[in-house]
């Protein structure tokens, strides 16, 4: 066939494929928002959940989701950073590196149920941490780590080697060169990775059912003592997240308005992720500009 015609046909097919995918995406998101947004009220966002009467809200679940995400990032980001730097800058091309890469891939392909059960037995039972935000955050760290590590490695590798040479030729240590020159330049890429993995953390339910638990005891939002059981900041309290709440409301609870709650929660979840994405992008660009002083 004539190459020009092939080119046209292929381009046409690609447009069709993209159109299909966009249609699916728009439909999905539209479906969730269309069903959910009418249920979102101020009361819905700011009141406590009800287990067997209508009119419950999602205040605690929403906060728990955010708090859990924050804790997960606090735990996983530094580890992923170190590991990513190791792979991008220090790792030699040998069998040890091969094993390390394989382990990371294995970790990333672990089914979340398995991670949840592992977390349940190890963290909740053996280490006596109980059903708690911290157990949940550590369990989520398990599959957040490989995603982040890979992404950080790639972002660092995409910074031209010339930059590293520039740094070390000035007598800076490798470490300084990496942290002060290469990492800032890879930052936008790293941030995208963090956003992507955060999305996953946010929507994760299976691993949390067995680690962070599926109840949201009432907490006081004025108690800032992190060690107090009533404090909203206490990482040792059990916490049901939004995604787990959707699961529970749909599968088990006898709440009369389960459908409204779950579609409302789904919409809230998506909106929060959207805000988070845009916010992180904005902050990322801002940090990048500030660090590089580029105008």
């Amino acid at each position: 066939m004539h190459p020009k015609r092939t080119d046209k046909i292929a381009t046409g097919i690609i447009y069709a494929v993209v159109a299909t995918v966009v249609a699916i995406l728009v439909f999905l998101i539209g479906y969730i928002l269309y069903n959910g947004v009418p249920d979102i009220t101020w009361h819905f966002l700011t009141s406590q959940a009800q287990s067997f009467s209508a009119g419950g809200g999602i205040r605690d679940q929403l906060f728990n989701s955010l708090y859990l995400l924050l804790l997960t990032l606090i735990i996983s980001f530094p580890i992923a950073m170190g590991a990513g730097i190791y792979l991008a800058e220090y790792a030699k091309d040998n069998w040890i590196t091969d094993i390390i890469r394989t382990s990371i891939e294995v970790l990333s392909s672990l089914p979340s149920v398995v991670v949840g059960l592992f977390g349940y037995l190890l963290l909740v039972n053996q280490l006596n941490m109980g059903f708690s935000i911290l157990s949940g955050a550590i369990a989520l760290t398990f599959f957040n780590l490989p995603l982040l590590t890979r992404n950080i490695e790639e972002s660092l590798n995409s910074v031209p080697n010339l930059q590293k040479e520039a740094g070390i030729s000035l007598g800076l240590s490798d470490w300084k060169t990496i942290t002060k020159i290469i990492v800032p330049e890879g930052l936008p890429g790293i941030l995208t990775g963090v956003i992507l993995s955060s999305g996953r953390v946010f929507g994760e339910a299976a691993a949390l059912i067995y680690t962070a638990g599926q109840s949201a005891p009432s907490v006081s939002y004025t108690n800032w003592n992190i060690f107090n059981a009533n404090s909203f900041l206490n990482p040792m309290r059990p916490a049901e997240t939004l995604a787990v709440h959707i699961w529970k409301v749909n599968t088990e609870a006898v709440t009369p308005d389960a459908h409204a709650i779950s579609s409302g929660s789904s919409a809230v979840l998506i909106i929060v992720i959207l805000i988070f994405n845009l916010g992180a992008r904005f902050i990322g660009n801002h940090i990048y500009k500030k660090m590089t002083a580029a105008k």
């Binding site: 006596n128 059903f131 599926q214 599968t251 088990e252």
Partner: protein, 297 residues
């Protein structure tokens, strides 16, 4: 193995976790103190069906007993029983008798029955069936009857939706209906909510649900012309029912005892239990033992 696990765990999470582990250990030890004013931390784990009731009761209870903090978790009856047996939680919630669960030593556990739950077969509304004999029901669930027209409904294939193997609901239903025969292999679902939704939307579907999950979108089926009502359960005229149990390892003490007493009080039994769609233990005119033998109270 336990030791190895701990060692590798320590390797993993280092001092950070160690500190927090310390914290949680502290809070645990405080619960074992035999203070008469009853303070401490109670964890109840197990049956997802019982969880909302206990949760609500716990939050009411804590209003008057601010020193006691109660954590309620799901996880399933098996989890609840094994955890209370291990001593890792104070209360194990279960839909079934500990005696009927493999790997549980029922002699070490003390049973506290907190509610009764009735279950009924439910079918998709379009099947046109509202009543079945016990024998018909058994034939459907053992796979001998496969079309609704054989039991007086439409000419439509029967889709059996069973409950997860080992779940309390299934055990109760099979005890009462199948009489030792094996259920046909079919779809299995773990949760009431999902079953409700599937029966509602799948033509020809049959399953069974706890009374509280039966709504007007599915058709509850009478058996031998007996209607699935609370009153019929109380007299055992409706035979498919079971207890909701809260197990303790040995006799309950201090805070736990106080909470169990509250669960048995009229505040819970008269009000909450009914709201939840359960039947109060006080209203039962018969009782059932672990072997399924029913006797008058």
């Amino acid at each position: 193995m336990k030791k190895k696990n701990i060692i590798s765990a320590i390797l993993l999470f280092g001092a950070f976790i160690a500190v927090l582990t310390g914290c949680s250990n502290n809070s645990k030890s405080s619960s074992s103190s035999s203070d008469s004013s009853a303070s401490g931390k109670i964890t109840a784990v197990g049956s997802t069906a019982l969880q909302p009731l206990v949760e609500k009761a716990a939050s009411n209870f804590q209003k008057d007993n601010s020193k006691i903090s109660i954590t309620v978790q799901g996880g399933g009856s098996g989890t609840g029983l094994s955890q209370v047996q291990d001593g890792s939680v104070a209360l194990g919630n279960s839909d079934i008798f500990a005696e009927s669960k493999d790997g549980i030593d029922a002699k070490k556990l003390v049973d506290h029955k907190v509610a009764v739950v009735g279950m009924a077969p439910v079918v998709n509304k379009e099947t046109g069936v509202k009543n079945l004999t016990m024998d018909q029901l058994k034939k459907i669930f053992t796979g001998k009857t496969t079309n609704w027209k054989d039991v007086g409904g439409k000419d439509q294939e029967i889709t059996v939706v069973n409950r997860a193997e080992g779940s309390g609901t299934r055990a109760t239903f099979e005890d009462a209906v199948l009489g030792g025969d094996k259920a046909v292999k079919s779809q299995e679902q773990d949760s009431n909510g999902t079953v409700q939704k599937i029966v509602e939307s799948t033509p020809g579907a049959i399953s069974y649900l706890a009374f509280s999950y039966i709504n007007d979108k599915v058709q509850a089926v009478s058996i031998n012309d007996v209607k699935p009502t609370d009153a019929n359960v109380e007299t055992n005229a409706w035979p498919i029912w079971s207890y909701e149990h809260m197990y303790t390892k040995g006799e309950a003490k201090d805070a736990t005892a106080k909470f169990l007493k509250y669960m048995d009080s009229s505040a819970v039994q008269k009000d909450l239990v009914g709201k939840m769609g359960y039947i109060s233990i006080h209203d039962m005119k018969v009782q059932k033992d672990a072997k399924g033998t029913v006797s008058n109270k």
